[in-house]
Symmetry: D2
Amino acid sequence: MKTILMTGFDPFGGEAVNPALETVKALDGRVLGDTRICVLEVPTVRGKCVNRVVQAIGELDPFAVICVGQAGGRAEITPERVAINVDDFRIKDNEGNQPVDEPIDPNGPSAYFSTLPIKAMVEAMRSKGIPASVSNTAGTFVCNHLFYGLMRYLDVEGKGRIGGFVHIPYLPEQAVRFPGQPSMSLDCTVEGLFAALQAVLDNRTDLRVSGGREC
Amino acid sequence: MKTILMTGFDPFGGEAVNPALETVKALDGRVLGDTRICVLEVPTVRGKCVNRVVQAIGELDPFAVICVGQAGGRAEITPERVAINVDDFRIKDNEGNQPVDEPIDPNGPSAYFSTLPIKAMVEAMRSKGIPASVSNTAGTFVCNHLFYGLMRYLDVEGKGRIGGFVHIPYLPEQAVRFPGQPSMSLDCTVEGLFAALQAVLDNRTDLRVSGGREC
Amino acid sequence: MKTILMTGFDPFGGEAVNPALETVKALDGRVLGDTRICVLEVPTVRGKCVNRVVQAIGELDPFAVICVGQAGGRAEITPERVAINVDDFRIKDNEGNQPVDEPIDPNGPSAYFSTLPIKAMVEAMRSKGIPASVSNTAGTFVCNHLFYGLMRYLDVEGKGRIGGFVHIPYLPEQAVRFPGQPSMSLDCTVEGLFAALQAVLDNRTDLRVSGGREC
Amino acid sequence: MKTILMTGFDPFGGEAVNPALETVKALDGRVLGDTRICVLEVPTVRGKCVNRVVQAIGELDPFAVICVGQAGGRAEITPERVAINVDDFRIKDNEGNQPVDEPIDPNGPSAYFSTLPIKAMVEAMRSKGIPASVSNTAGTFVCNHLFYGLMRYLDVEGKGRIGGFVHIPYLPEQAVRFPGQPSMSLDCTVEGLFAALQAVLDNRTDLRVSGGREC
């Protein structure tokens, strides 16, 4: 049986929960055909989050790794297109780090593109009635940091594993604190990510459909 | 046993579903203490929607009437504060009517305030983790029309019934068509409205908490 | 020569300027045909702001009164359709008042509609290239309070004067403090309100064009 | 005397004007100390826009190149942090091209970071009262294409020139067509970009202040 590794961050920024962690926990152990989902909680801390994922890859030997993070303010599930080689933290991470314009890996390339079929993932979620879009920025905080660190490891480690990052909205219970902000219920994020995983299994190459934006 | 009447509109504006109708259907027959929820589908047509509700009030003798409508673009469940005496339709209703700046009732007052405890309803929903806020405009389309028509009838008919209107967001399956727009799942709208109904039963007078806005 | 009275509030909510006051000051003394613009600064204080305007009406005998206020978060100049008879202050006014759900005038009607040709004002601004829309809510703070108080006075005083309220966006210098919030430069708000005034003079009855919204 | 080259696109997407072109035209020939601004109009066409800029660099020998583009929906002037090596056009460019997920340069790196002092540019604009923020995505259309193409050329050509891209909002006259969308007047965009240019001249290294986002 094959393994797909999903990760979710612990809560940050004063939140009591992280929708990413809640969502991947709900998917832990689920099976799609010959593939089982394994789930890992990672700390919202630069460096450490990458180390934790790299260690789990060594232990679990997944063929694909999908990291998931919270995107406060977004209304949709957004597979990320690209990770950039910079840390520029507007707020502190969970161990108080707040780097400004530091490279994540001084020896790494400027960016990595997701090797997941992000267009197919978006289509699969929409076909299930779950709002989804491609995102062209994963920000410059720990989410982008982990995304970049993961892709850097997969690039160097060289065994053909694929990987990427998906942002999901606040849970409704979080949005209560931010009147007017969009949210998505756990049932939706779980169903959406499950559909996206199925798309990963079904699409070795991505769909040729536009997911771009003018800005 | 007492009756509370809830109404939901049929789909309009090219939509295949109306979240209001789906939500109230899911609440039909539910019981809160000594009160049973009765549900009515109303057409998204000026005039007719009011007549249908008035007829149902006559048949069911509810002590409270809560009309529910779709608010595309909003991220929260929003009890409405006020209905205004004007029809100004940006789009046609389901029978092709498109009045511009016509009074709903030339003999009626300029506006009616909801007689539901809207602040208590918002608090009850938030305490359940459902995003909610007071809204100060129900628009100028059929939702406001029904809200005004209901309050006009309750004012004239004079038997102490209370009533009001609640707007709810798109369902996720609708928002798929409008990338970036917020939505709320049916489970949330149902749980939210149920909590709001409980607040109606529990609060004869409204809470003294601010639900206002600068604009 | 006829007089049109315009008012603008002093700054509130921690702001150093109020775009409404800056804009009307820039229009003070301007002449349109046989009409001169007179300008009044009013305090952002419930009650007092209305008294100040009523006093100025007595002194200046204007045929029209247009009150202007700041609408943080809006991107357009928005003539208001309706004032509602309630004070529900989310923040304190400039003398510390923070009423919750109190009627502005216990003997007044639930609402007043603007007696300005708001559709013609919007069209006139758009034809000059200034973003503008009808708004269906003036909020529940001092702006709505003054709008209601003005219309109440004009209704009771009974000499055929017309009046209403227009909200305008933050100035760019204010929006610097709120990343992502829209703004409009003083040149635009001045040109827009001047075009709107011309529309008031040119349109005794309003245009029959839709300015409504679904919600 | 030194030269700084600024470029603006011709209108696209059905627009009659492009705020970028109008803004740079207004800056043409302006002098800051020992530096003169030279301006170039570029076509909103993949490939051609880069060729035009490369040709102008050869003719004008600028020490810095700043390309400017329209960002419909944004409320601020946004210096871009990073260009990514992909064309994914949601709409056609001005010659009908609509590539999906094609690399801009198959031999180029995945991304280039701006070599302009983007934090200093933002600070300079804000200090003049002009809303500005760092952006972490230039989209995947012709703006990103030109940004990438410029940085690729500067990287290869190797003479120490610096370069980058700045997005600016709709002009008010454009936003009239999109009710609710933010805009910025030409006076503001001109003053803002002029302040940003001064920051380019004054800051050989960028400020160490956060301009990041969580997502």
